[in-house]
Symmetry: C2
Subunit: 345 residues, 2 copies
């Protein structure tokens, strides 16, 4: 049988109102009283009716999270971070899968399910700034990811240019002089792609080439795209001594191509990726990668949505989550004995 507020009150020897105050986390409860009620809650296994709590505030308790592709482990790990962070605020997450298609992203933004959600977290791929201009304002929107928009919405992201520069600087520091980029998006201007920009800036600053022959554009961002791009680069006659890939799946696809061609990683070509997904740590040659603080991104996104509920309208913020470079065998080699986790800078 379901344990009620009344049962908890009787067990703790306090009023129902006091239990309600504790459950709803009101401030005017002494720590001692809070502890006493909490002991009864634990003893009886009481669970507050979250849906009812949200409804009393005119909310649904649901945040929508719209991601381009769940098959990419970065987004799966990010989704887990958002779900866990939302749960800590008694929120649940409705997951949307846009496929990175503009039409689907538009649909999500225009609030086609506004009645069911309290807020929306979107990681856009194709969406343009003007698509968001005429958006109804009733549901808070928080943007994630590499694209930058000059729009009055919170945007949570790492500093993609600085992160890309750190990865390229690491490769240059190892003595590499021909650093290719895999995963420039076909049909997308370079300034829109911050990682390409960071790659070029760092090479230019070092007086090293960053010409078009070192850039492999792709249509997609999966393992197979990275593999195919690496093969095209090798067949182009150009022989880079390092590769920086837009993301880890593409870097792993590139390593597969190099392995198949008998090119050694990192002796002949060093490889660095972006996202630090689990898979890269367990590649036969473990992958050096830019590691965004996914937990922070998920947490900041949820907090940004919640900060806009209840009529509060803080000024739009651009929030930077942290990143670091996880250095592993694909650039350092196996000098570190097996099991060495790699230096993290």
């Amino acid at each position: 049988m379901r344990v009620s507020l009344r049962d908890v009150a009787a067990h703790a020897g306090v009023s129902v109102k006091t239990v309600s105050n504790v459950v709803n986390d009101y401030q005017h409860v002494t720590p001692a009283m809070r502890a006493r009620v909490q002991r009864s809650i634990d003893a009886l296994g009481y669970r507050p009716n979250l849906a009812a709590r949200h409804l009393r505030k005119g909310r649904t308790g649901i945040i929508a999270l719209a991601l381009p592709e769940l098959g990419n482990p970065y987004f799966a790990e990010l989704a887990a971070a958002v779900i866990d962070s939302a749960a800590a605020h008694d929120y649940t997450v409705l997951l949307d899968h846009t496929g990175g298609r503009r039409e689907q992203e538009l649909l999500v933004c225009r609030g086609f399910r506004a009645r069911v959600i309290d807020g929306l977290i979107l990681s856009p791929i194709e969406l343009e700034a003007e698509d968001l201009g005429d958006r109804a304002e009733n549901v808070p929107l928080v943007l994630l990811g590499e694209r930058e928009y000059d729009l009055p919405y919170d945007h949570i992201a790492i500093d993609n240019v600085a992160a890309a520069r750190a990865a390229v600087r690491h490769l240059i520091g190892l003595g590499r002089r021909e650093v290719a980029f895999i995963g420039a998006r076909r049909g997308r201007s370079e300034p829109a792609q911050l990682r390409v920009r960071g790659w070029r800036e760092e090479l230019t600053a070092a007086g090293l080439p960053s010409d078009a022959g070192l850039v492999a554009a792709t249509d997609g961002w999966g393992h197979a795209d990275g593999e195919a791009a690496m093969i095209r680069l090798l067949d182009s006659g150009r022989r880079p001594d390092a590769v920086f890939a837009y993301n880890d799946p593409m870097a792993i696809g590139a390593m597969r191509a190099l392995h198949a061609r008998g090119v050694r990683v990192p002796e002949d070509i060093a490889v660095a990726g972006f996202d630090d997904v689990v898979e890269g740590r367990f590649a036969a040659v473990s992958l050096t990668s830019v590691s965004p603080d996914k937990e922070a991104i998920g947490r900041l996104a949820v907090e940004s949505v919640l900060a806009r509920l209840g009529g509060r309208t803080p000024a739009p913020r651009r929030v930077r989550a942290g990143h670091r470079l996880a250095e592993r065998e694909s650039t350092l080699g196996r000098a570190g004995a097996f099991g060495a986790p790699g230096r993290d800078t």
Copy 2:
């Protein structure tokens, strides 16, 4: 401005009722009329108000999907299949992350958000049959995954015993005689784990050993668990000539351990996994794996939920989705030139 039914009717020169019939997919509309209205819908960019459509039927248009871990690519790929299949029925998916914890699975099952969802798809890990016995029946529940329950709920799964036997048969057919199993769950009786059972049945039928020394139990099911289990097996003095892992991340973790120890795959030890996640295809040595038909599992799960809405209560069904064995380099070697996709049986 939002395009209305009325706008579409005016554009097509038909009544609002006719447009409504087309939008709601009623049968008594001629193909010619349907095409005429559809042309106006396309021309004006009309979007039906899905939420309103569901509400008229007393539904929310939301199915909850509760999975143990999104970080495991199998579940991420499965989630994408469920989301896509739900979208085809104008349904959206609310994603839950149980962490495989019994308490969280219980919470999900007992319908703590019954007011927001029309149905629940759950892939349980820890849940016991008695936990589901006292469940309120108002929201249809469909179970996924390896665990078998004697309960009146639809259950969508592949034949895990047959699939495991096929993988082990493949290894035996290649001349392997000491086939280890990685990923038996600590503290879980063997009959509850169909893949261990299939492994043992096939070895027994072939007159080969399947003693406890060949089974590596683990607490978790990730890459690191597979790596650690493989190291324990190698250090135990037992030297298997093949390994069958509970899932692909564990198989990839095991391959990483073998690579680090200088053990060749498949020459010294052949490795087979389960789930056929994208990552396995791009390992330095591509992974042989049991490939469940994830698209079918996602589709059948959504269809099972929808079949129980609207007062229809078909008898509970155990639905088998298909599987095949994707044979790749980790068992066949590199005999097939690079790029050969491997035989699929």
